[in-house]
């Protein structure tokens, strides 16, 4: 037997066949009806719609054959797809191509007539064929009939392909529609004159419009004049986004970024526009600028604060070295040097402390369950050295819920406010420390209140009390770095708490610290 030749564009032909997604699909009446018709018209026992795969022929429709596929090597149809028009084998036993084929020797086929089937692009993908166990001839009418039946099969294949393309397109459309509906950026399509044709929900939301409410509006009214300048058919859509001011329909404005891509649709000039509301980014930039400014100011102030005691130390020591003073003056100047050197050390320690607390954040805290009464008592025993504890009256609520806190840091925070109360009130006046558990904004909080009857503060002084290095009033006589309240606030906020300050000049100051109580208490 002769080897089956291959189609000259076999690879392409196979690809087209596979892309049709017809191989190994279930039988379909629209094809079966054609094979039934063929068998009846040609009065043969076997009629097939055969598709020629790489190494098999697979029957999309079969009549009189019990199997869905056979090997390709010995098949008639492999030859049919190589030629134009009908291929007829009147008696296979007389044809050297097929005389040894098992279709002939085993299945007993003698007569074959087939017509190639073509895919929409013209590729030969298979045949419609009829077979008989008797040798016979096929006249012209029979040939035409077979050609017409092949045409019907081809039409069915094309129709299926068409349906498939259409389904794929509506799937794409649905995908695109869903994407535009849900994409968080505003998308607008503009006509050549810069009027909105349509916008997605994000764009409508951004500009404060109802559904469909952007249509017909001019881009310059929504995006500002600068962005409208981008509406140029030559505009480079790769250009970086243009920043500008967006105008909502209610007249309010917001910062936007706009990208424009000129496009052509149905022969018309159009523009695809992406609008992004950058309010949040702007806020972040402003906030980071403010932080930067605060840092710069902090650095300047810190330098100033360090240079001031250094001026005394350097200046007075130089005077002592170069001039002769009487013993009293010598002592006075040494005293100043010593005091200012202590102040310098204190400042440096506090600055390092603040920097450590800021850098460590909540991760730098050594959190444990803290009993507030013990916390207050430990703070007071730490302040014993100031010799002022007799002025302090405590009223500590029994059975307070515990708090989650770093006990040492919290003690440091309390020390700062209690020592301020001592420093800014006169000898002999009373200082009250009280604690309570209270609900604030539906949360159980522990309040620690420290109230003095000292010099108090004006509202202007109160407003600056947490500023680094700020010291209220004429505080030359009062020791301190000016960082105590800054450190206090930092520690309290790291613990999720906050502080209230009530103060009146001449009447005194009360600081109340609010800290969240541990929820599982009692």
């Amino acid at each position: 037997m002769l080897a089956s030749p291959l189609h000259p564009e076999e690879a392409h032909r196979l690809q087209v066949l596979r892309d049709l997604n017809i191989l190994d699909t279930a039988p379909e009446e629209r094809f079966d009806r054609i094979t039934r018709m063929a068998a009846r018209l040609f009065e043969v026992p076997v009629a097939l719609v055969s598709l020629i795969d790489a190494d098999r022929q697979w029957f999309k429709s079969r009549l009189g054959v019990p199997f869905a596929e056979t090997t390709r090597a010995d098949s008639f149809c492999t030859h049919t797809i190589l030629q134009d028009g009908v291929m007829v084998v009147e008696d296979a036993t007389c044809d050297p191509r097929f005389v040894d084929s098992p279709y002939v020797t085993v299945a007993g086929a003698r007569f074959y007539a087939g017509y190639p089937l073509t895919a929409p692009d013209g590729s030969r993908i298979g045949t419609i064929c009829v077979l008989d166990r008797e040798p016979r001839a096929l006249d012209d009418a029979g040939r035409e009939l077979l050609r017409d039946l092949a045409g019907m099969v081809t039409n069915e294949i094309a129709a299926a392909e068409l349906r498939r393309v259409h389904a794929r397109r509506s799937e794409n459309d649905a995908w695109l529609y869903g994407l535009l509906q849900h994409i968080p950026d505003g998308v607008l399509m503009l006509d050549r004159g810069g009027s909105v044709i349509c916008g997605n929900p994000a764009a409508e939301h951004m500009f404060g419009s109802d559904t469909g409410g952007l249509a017909g509006r001019l881009a310059c009214a929504l995006l500002g004049e600068d962005a409208a300048l981008l509406l140029d058919p030559q505009h480079d859509s790769e250009a970086p986004p243009q920043e500008g001011g967006g105008h909502r329909l209610d007249g309010s404005t917001f910062p936007i970024e706009v990208k424009v891509a000129p496009m052509c649709m149905d022969g018309q000039q159009r523009y695809a526009v992406i609008v992004r509301d950058v309010t949040r980014q702007h806020e972040l930039t402003l906030r980071s600028r403010a932080t930067e400014e605060r840092r710069r100011k902090h650095f300047t102030t810190a330098t100033h604060e360090l240079r001031t005691p250094m001026a005394s130390i350097l200046g007075f020591s130089e005077l002592l070295l170069k001039r002769d003073f009487d013993a009293d003056t010598n002592r006075e100047l040494l005293d100043i040097i010593h005091r200012q050197a202590s102040r310098l050390v204190d400042l440096i320690n506090q600055m390092l402390d603040l920097a450590r607390i800021e850098a460590g954040g909540t991760e730098g805290l050594n959190i444990g369950t803290v009993n507030v009464t013990e916390l207050v008592e430990q703070t007071l025993s730490g302040l014993n050295g100031l010799g002022q504890n007799h002025r302090i009256h405590t009223e500590l609520e029994a059975d307070l819920p515990p708090i989650a806190a770093d006990p040492l840091k919290m003690q440091q925070a309390l020390t700062n406010i209690v020592s301020n109360a001592i420093k800014y009130s006169s000898e002999g006046t009373r200082i009250d420390i009280s604690t309570a558990a209270l609900h604030r904004n539906a949360k159980l909080m522990v309040a620690i209140r420290v109230a003095d009857r000292g010099i108090g503060m004006t509202p202007e002084q109160q407003a600056r009390i947490f500023d680094a290095f700020y010291r209220a009033g004429d505080s030359q006589g009062v020791q301190g770095s000016g960082l105590g309240m800054t450190i206090f606030k930092e520690i309290i906020e790291l613990h999720g708490g906050h502080a209230d300050i009530e103060s009146r000049p001449g009447a005194g100051t009360a600081v109340t610290v609010w800290l969240p109580a541990l929820p599982d208490h009692g």
Binding site: T300, T303, H304, E305, R307, T308, M310, A311, S312, I313, L314, G315, F316, E318, L319, K322, R323, I336, R339, Q340, G473, D474, Q476
Partner: protein, 123 residues
């Protein structure tokens, strides 16, 4: 003729330091605030004012300097700014306010004395 020097400084220790540094150069007047300083400038017409820049309570020595230099009656008074603000921009701001000299804290009393003597010689 004896020269008059006004020291405007809110910190007691530093006021003493400047006074000790300059006392050999003439009569010394002391002020601890901006208002007191301006009052003394107008009343005493000193030859030189040493002026702290951060005077506390939000008062600025730069404002005092501008006030001295913009009043024709006191514009001739030499002003030496003494400040713990040591950045180039601080120095420029001081000179723009009309100061004749800008000295950064900490300073050497001897250098302060020399700078003050030079300003008094030119006064």
């Amino acid at each position: 003729m004896d020269k008059t020097i006004l020291i405007v400084e809110d910190q007691d220790d530093l006021r003493l330091l400047v006074r000790l540094s300059l006392k050999s150069l003439g009569r010394i007047l002391l002020a601890s605030s901006a208002a007191q300083g301006l009052e003394l400038v107008r009343a005493e017409r000193p030859d030189l004012v040493t002026l702290d820049v951060w005077l506390g309570k939000g008062d600025s020595g730069l404002d005092v300097c501008r006030a001295i230099k913009s009043d024709p009656a006191t514009a001739h008074v030499k002003v030496l700014l003494l400040s713990a603000c040591g950045q180039q921009s601080d120095v420029e701001a001081g000179l723009e306010a009309g100061a004749d000299h800008y000295m950064i804290k900490p300073f050497s009393p001897q250098s302060l004395g020399e700078a003050a003597a030079a300003l008094l010689a030119a006064a």
